[in-house]
């Protein structure tokens, strides 16, 4: 089990909850990226919510990883969303315009509900 993040499935939506307040050093970022990729590989078309509510700092490298993940998910027809973004991180996401690329939700619960509706709409 990873000490960086946990993974779970809620109502058909995969949720990765980051456990660390800092995702800064290259080793942590690489390990987190590997975890996200492994989660996506298990169900490539499944919606994924990344819960960042416990995160205070992220490195700029991590943003690149997230954008690549989002692009790959798009190719598979899957959705990746962020949830629980802290005020400090929001500023970073706004400057980099990442919040216009990857949808963000106030918390994981709202993210799950929205993606579930979207999945339902898409399949129905």
């Amino acid at each position: 089990m990873s000490d960086i993040a946990t993974t779970a499935v809620h109502e058909g939506v995969r949720v990765v909850t980051v456990l660390r307040p800092r995702l800064l050093d290259p080793e942590t970022v690489e390990a987190f990226d590997a975890l996200l990729r492994a989660t996506r590989a298990e169900a490539p078309t499944c919606a994924l919510v990344i819960d960042l509510s416990q995160v205070r700092f992220v490195s700029s490298s991590l943003l690149g990883h997230l954008v690549l993940l989002w692009r790959e998910a798009q190719t598979d027809g899957a959705v990746v969303a962020l949830a629980g973004v802290s005020h400090g991180l929001q500023q970073l996401l706004r400057i980099t315009d990442i919040d216009r690329i990857i949808t963000t939700y106030p918390d994981a619960g709202q993210g799950i509900a929205a993606l579930r509706r979207a999945q339902g709409g898409a399949s129905g």
């Binding site: 490298s61 690149g64 980099t96 315009d97």
Partner: protein
């Protein structure tokens, strides 16, 4: 003669060198030295610890030292302690011989750094076995020392290469202040490693227009620096058709608006899937005659403008980082403002605002703005020096890691007021 002794006579292990034997007892010296010679070992025999230490100081070839605990002058444990303190890279295997089996004596012998303790009387075979161990350890120590030397040489070459590369990278920074009437410039560039993923520049486009940019490649180290250098090449005004900022065509050259520069950069530098490097940039053009500034940002903080009254404005302009979206999908819009006489603009990388103190608090844009506003009465370069001092204080002496710090400053002189930017 036993087979063990025959083997010892003919099979001197690799790593075996001359043996220094120190014993105050002449009979013991005679017996041991004969035995060791029969075992094929070169032996120097002494009865005094002082003489032994003198010899060890001048002759570093001894790979095994056998010394009696109570050798006169410098005794066994003291001799071994001195041997271990000698950091010349040559390891000598040390055996202390003693007639005492008292725990205190054995402890003192081992604490001195001895590899082994032999309690007299002992069998010659026991000594030969110890010498085989000594030879094996010496061979390993030699191998380790050789590898360390190779590693040190590699590290030295690496450092020299990085320093040379850093010198080359620095040639890409502004060589001198652009000669534009009423405009002063200054910059600060502090890579967190030898090579930085940040770069900045100030480039006159004609006698009125000054281009300025600060870019920040994600990550650190050589690969980030190489990408930064590669990008900067396209941001030079004298490259003809290749220049993104002053492209030429059959009809002549023109000044490209910032949004166009960023869109073309995005087309040229898609995010690499292996390195996952991308870059953020603020690019702007100042019209020195009017003070009008046109700028665009790609994932980078916008300029900070210090007004003449001390007010500070952040002119962030969200835009996706270069390389995140495929060509044609990343669009940027130009922002405009006027830099009035007596006002200053600062462009910075996030290494400034994200510098952390001992409590992991970020320096922050508000602190940055407050310092620059307070320093507005100082000459432009001094305002950056003040900021650098505040940043160093914030990060602390033990700061490690961190990010590149790049700041570029432009000021218009308040000529009517006789001001100097």
């Amino acid at each position: 003669m036993s087979s063990t002794r025959e083997r010892a006579l003919t099979d001197v292990p690799t790593g075996a060198g001359p043996v220094l034997l120190v014993d105050p007892d002449p009979i013991a010296r005679s017996v041991f030295s004969q035995c060791l010679r029969r075992a094929g070992r070169e032996v120097v025999v002494l009865g005094d610890g002082n003489l032994a230490w003198d010899m060890l100081c001048t002759d570093h070839d001894f790979r095994t030292v056998i010394v009696d605990q109570h050798a006169p002058g410098v005794d066994g444990p003291e001799l071994v302690r001195r041997l271990r303190a000698r950091r010349d890279g040559n390891y000598a295997y040390a055996i202390i011989t003693t007639r005492s089996s008292a725990q205190e004596d054995l402890k003192r012998a081992v604490a001195s750094g001895a590899d082994d303790v032999l309690v007299k009387p002992f069998l010659f075979e026991a000594l030969v076995q110890r010498l085989e161990v000594a030879a094996r350890i010496s061979a390993l120590e030699d191998k380790l020392a050789r590898r360390n030397r190779v590693l040190e040489a590699y590290q030295r070459r690496n450092r020299q290469t990085l320093e040379a590369a850093a010198r080359v990278q620095r040639t890409l920074l502004p060589a001198r202040a652009p000669d534009l009437h009423g405009v002063a410039t200054a910059w600060l560039y502090q890579p967190c490693e030898e090579l930085g993923g940040d770069l900045l520049n100030l480039l006159p486009l004609d006698d009125r227009h000054l281009a300025f940019w600060v870019l920040d490649v994600s990550g650190h180290g050589v690969s980030s620096a190489l990408l930064a250098v590669q990008v900067s090449r396209f941001l030079a005004p004298t490259l003809g058709q290749e220049s993104l900022i002053r492209p030429s065509s059959a009809s002549g050259t023109r000044i490209a608006p910032p949004h166009e520069v960023l869109e073309r950069l995005n087309a040229l530098f898609p995010m690499d899937r292996q390195t996952r490097h991308y870059l953020t940039i603020v690019y702007g053009i100042l019209d020195a005659s009017t003070g009008e500034v046109t700028y665009a940002c790609a994932g980078h903080p916008g300029p900070l403008v210090v007004r003449a009254d001390g007010g500070c404005e952040r002119l962030d302009r969200p835009g996706v980082a270069i390389g995140w979206l495929p060509e044609g999908q990343a669009h940027y819009a130009d922002g405009h403002f006027t830099l009035a006489p007596g006002e200053r603009l600062y462009c910075y990388s996030d290494g400034v605002t994200e510098a952390c103190d001992a409590h992991e608090r970020g320096f922050g844009v508000h602190r940055l703005a407050a310092i620059l506003a307070t320093a507005r009465a100082l000459p432009l370069a001094d305002s950056l020096a003040t900021l650098a001092g505040e940043l160093a204080r914030w990060s602390g002496e033990d700061a490690e890691g961190g990010d590149d710090v790049s700041i570029l400053a432009i000021a218009r002189a308040d000529i009517a007021a006789g001001g100097n930017p």
